[in-house]
């Protein structure tokens, strides 16, 4: 994660605070600091009529929407969300106010004592509307009709903040977040049709599927979430010399500064943002953490004291969920030779109460939903719907994995139904000729076959797949449970990792970088300092081109306060774009060195012609600046009695262009695999000691690899699990109970 130096960013009047050992906001403190906690809505909907406050001890404060000096609104993209809920609650746990005081435990106690009263008519209306759909003896309103039990009653109780009924009273599902079935507002949508589906005739749809040898349909859901062990979201704020100082793990300081300015009614230059570390994958750094920072800043501004708001682990997990649950339904027309002639994909994502980036997320899923396959007739309909779940955010590097999970598992299902090897199905349908393709999305897939073949041969996939399939049949028919052998399965997934998406100006807009060859022959790269691995790559790249020792190259974020970068930080550490720009700068310096006096500064940005490769209006073309490809094979073994899973091996083949630092890239992939294995089964970390990684030799521009593992491994894992259990594992994460129950029915 890029780190911003305080040098040059701070104004003259800013405060004294040592941050050398305080790279995390939770480590910051000042004399007289107050701790803060949020008052959250106990119901998912309704109109607040009163907030009953206990007697506040001296030195303790409560602030709500009406105390905000400026506007009670955070404007992000085209969406407005309240800093504090003023009257109508949109989701369970929505912040209503903030309590601050010198003793942390006292603050939490006061928060729990505050009573929020809702307008009874709105609450009753909400209760009736859900009760009409699902009734049960546990919740029965007068005059409502009884209907059969439903496990979704749990959702109702959650929405109404009632205690869930006792176990056994109603059928319960595993603890996997449910997609809201309530049809909420559609905040974004995208429809893509090609070939025979270009028209609207319903009979065309049916005739395409009827004329196929196989008509295969299934729904896939992926909602994996990395266990959160890092610092929880929050902020530390204080006023000093008329400057509001904000220490928080934001990834978009420019946006945060503007948002605070609007809410506090303070000028931009009176707000100093210090980015603190955000460890792990934190999607909230772009948007959602900003609301917490504003809430803290309001408390600090009104009390005149330093205030620290740190979410509890429980709050963080409940209300700051970063992922967006996606449900993807496929219907495919497949011929006997394995070629897919038509695909109909319906994508629904639940963005919670709000997500300003819903369109971007949806578009990326649409691009990924057919993966790299060449299908002549496609019909993709995608929509983002709101619900009473907390708002969600965007993690630009990890958006499309859910589409890959669905696509690759569906390919495995097709292989099973058609009795063709999964590898052959993929090779048959991969888009190998971009000129003749009917796909609206173009990828340079020349080396994909190499990647796939590499993973298949490394893992001996074809032999194992066939053997395990026979084993699974025998296991199903066997009555001998005493001498049962382990149950095995193997899965394959092949996906891309696109970086520098041209469809959104925020995330692919105006990346620029400049470097200076100084008078003493040292080189300065003017940029935020990226992660150690990317820093090493940049320094090595520039040093090699300019034929200088790496020690003479440094990265310095020497910016003035007004130069605060307009885009989210992770944009500036995009390895594929920035490394290419750095190489261009270095080559330009070589040209100028002969004729120009030192120091020489060269600045380069992304060429506008590149962005034109993607046609925004008809949603077609080359969507990414660079694309890496990866194929993963996962072999799994289940204990025949307990169905406890064990991964016997993972084989990963990657084509990511020119490799700038082999140890760094390998470490990244291995770490990603380890992190991925901790989210596939709820509350379990699967162990794999046998990981093989191979890279396809290439001199193409370097590509990102951050998402390769996230895109391939879950899909390959569930395919392997499906084979082992002779059942379809259609959603991730799964639970130990799901695996056991599926296995027990075999």
């Amino acid at each position: 994660m890029p780190k911003r130096s305080t040098k040059g960013v701070r104004s003259q009047k800013t405060a004294h605070i040592s941050l050398q050992a305080h790279d995390y906001y939770t480590d910051c403190s000042r004399a007289g600091m107050l701790y803060a906690a949020l008052i959250r809505s106990p119901a998912a909907s309704g109109i607040i009529t009163n907030i009953a406050i206990p007697q506040m001890p001296d030195g303790y404060f409560l602030f709500t929407a009406r105390d905000i000096p400026g506007r009670n609104t955070v404007h992000t993209q085209n969406a407005d969300t309240p800093v504090f809920c003023a009257d109508r609650v949109s989701y369970f746990g929505e912040p209503i106010g903030i309590v601050a005081g010198p003793d942390e435990s006292e603050v939490y106690e006061l928060t729990s004592e505050i009573e929020v009263t809702f307008d009874s008519s709105t609450l009753e209306t909400a209760l009736e509307s859900v009760a009409e759909k699902y009734t049960h003896p546990v919740i029965k309103l007068p005059g409502t009709e009884q209907k059969p039990d439903s496990d979704q009653i749990l959702e109702i109780t959650k929405a109404m903040n009632l205690d869930p009924p006792a176990p056994g009273t109603i059928p319960t599902k595993p603890q996997i977040p449910q997609l809201s079935e309530n049809a909420g507002a559609i905040t974004a949508q995208r429809i893509v049709k090609t070939g025979l589906f270009s028209g609207d005739a319903q009979n065309t749809y049916e005739s395409v599927f009827k004329s196929a040898d196989f008509d295969i349909a299934e729904t896939w859901i992926q909602d994996t979430e990395q266990p959160s062990w890092a610092e929880t979201n929050g902020a530390f704020c204080f006023m000093e010399n008329g400057i509001m100082n904000i220490f928080t793990p934001t990834q978009w300081p420019d946006y945060l500064r503007k948002a605070v300015s609007v809410s506090l009614n303070l000028d931009d230059d009176k707000i100093f943002i210090r980015e603190t570390n955000s460890s792990g994958h934190d999607a909230n750094g772009i948007w959602r953490n900003a609301t917490l920072a504003i809430q803290t800043a309001v408390a600090a501004y009104l009390t005149g004291k330093p205030v620290k708001l740190t979410l509890s682990r429980d709050e963080h997990q409940k209300f700051m969920k970063s992922g967006v649950p996606a449900k993807i339904h496929y219907r495919t027309a497949v011929m006997k030779d394995g070629s897919i002639t038509a695909i109909k994909a319906d994508i629904t994502i639940d963005v919670g109460a709000c997500n300003p980036f819903a369109q971007e997320i949806l578009d990326r899923l649409v691009i990924a939903v057919c993966n790299i396959y060449d299908i002549p007739n496609i019909c993709i309909t995608a929509k983002a719907v709101t619900s009473t779940n907390p708002p969600t955010s965007i993690f630009p590097e990890m958006i499309d994995s859910q589409a890959f999970f669905a696509a690759e598992n569906h390919l495995q299902l097709i292989a099973q139904e058609t009795n063709i090897l999964p590898a052959d199905i993929r090779l048959k349908n991969i888009c190998s000729n971009q000129k003749n393709t009917k796909m609206p999305f173009i990828f340079h897939t020349e080396k994909v076959e190499n990647v796939l073949q590499n993973a298949i041969s490394m893992s001996d996939f074809n032999r194992k797949y066939t053997t395990f399939r026979i084993d699974a049949k025998q296991h199903r028919n066997s009555e001998d449970t005493f001498f049962a052998l382990p149950i095995r399965g193997i899965g394959l997934a092949c996906t891309f990792d696109g970086s520098g998406y041209f469809g959104n100006d925020i995330f692919s807009g105006s990346q620029k970088i400049s470097i200076t060859l100084e008078s003493d022959n040292t080189v300065t790269i003017h940029s935020l300092v990226p992660s150690p691995a990317i820093s090493e790559i940049w320094i090595k790249t520039v040093a090699a081109i300019l034929k200088l020792p790496p020690s003479s190259v440094k990265i310095t974020p020497d910016m003035e306060i007004n130069d605060i970068l307009p885009l989210p930080d992770n944009i500036y550490s995009n390895i594929s774009i920035m490394t290419q720009l750095l190489s261009q700068c270095s080559l330009e310096i070589i040209k100028k060195r002969e004729k120009t006096k030192l120091p020489i500064t060269v600045k380069k940005g992304l060429a506008p012609s590149l962005k034109k490769q993607w046609n925004k209006s008809d949603f077609s073309g080359i969507p990414f600046h660079t694309t890496s490809f990866g194929a993963a094979v996962v072999e799994i073994e289940l204990d025949p009695y307990t169905y406890k899973e064990r991964i016997k091996g993972i084989w990963l083949a990657v084509d990511c262009g020119r490799i700038l630092s082999l140890p760094a890239i390998e470490n990244t992939l291995r770490l990603s695999i380890q992190q991925e294995l901790s989210q596939l089964v709820v509350d379990e970390t699967i162990v794999c000691d046998d990981v093989h990684i191979s890279f396809i030799h290439s001199e193409d521009n370097p590509g990102q690899i951050g998402e390769i593992v996230h895109n391939t491994v879950p899909a390959a894992f569930s395919s392997a699990l499906s084979q082992a259990l002779s059942a379809r594992i259609c959603r991730l994460p799964c639970t130990a109970e799901t695996i056991y129950s599926q296995g027990d029915t075999v």
Binding site: A21, H22, D23, Y24, T26, D27, S29, P227, W229, A230, E231, T232, N277, S279, G280, R313, S531, P532, A533, P663, A664, N667, R670, L671, I673, Q674, Q675, S678, V687
Partner: protein, 163 residues
């Protein structure tokens, strides 16, 4: 409640409620190397040495530490053992995020102190529970093995110097 302890080699009396977590008490004393991670004693971010053993301070009520010796990374980082571990980590290419340092360093120290010649399996058993936030387990194991080499080398040099 007054709880006498030896904290970072200094005898002090902690003022806290008996049920307070050791983690919170230490952080109140500005010992910030102790971080709040999973809060369930698994991830290692809050590790301290309690009477010479690495323990997760997030699940230890402070009352249980009465008359114990507590060592945090702030004090431990002045020791030669710490230098060996950091040198080993550097040699393996480990860049720690700063949040999980205590867990990784104290686990490494425990292995170096309790095993005559640690092998990958022994190390794996000790470190596999740590959060994979910034370093994969394979590289961490390499780092601990390098640290062992540095430690043996340093102790050899010190022994020779004495003779």
């Amino acid at each position: 409640m007054k709880i006498p302890v030896t904290l970072n080699n200094a005898k002090i009396v902690l003022e806290a409620e008996p049920g307070d977590k050791l983690l919170n008490v230490l952080r109140r004393l500005n010992l910030l190397s102790v971080k709040c991670g999973c809060n369930e004693g698994r991830c290692g971010a809050c590790t301290v040495l309690l009477d010479g053993k690495p323990v997760p301070s997030c699940i230890i009520p402070v009352a249980l530490t009465r008359d114990s010796a507590i060592t945090t990374l702030e004090y431990f980082s002045k020791s030669e053992d710490y230098q060996d571990i950091i040198n080993g980590f550097k040699k393996a290419g480990i860049n720690m995020c700063g949040y999980c340092n205590a867990g990784k360093v104290f686990s490494a120290w425990h292995i170096l102190n309790t095993s005559m010649k640690p092998d990958r399996r022994i190390i794996y058993e000790e470190v596999s529970h740590l959060s994979p936030c910034c370093t994969n387990t394979d590289i961490l194991i390499n780092g601990i093995l390098y640290a062992f080499d540095f430690r043996v080398h340093r102790m050899g040099v010190q022994k020779n110097a004495k003779n």
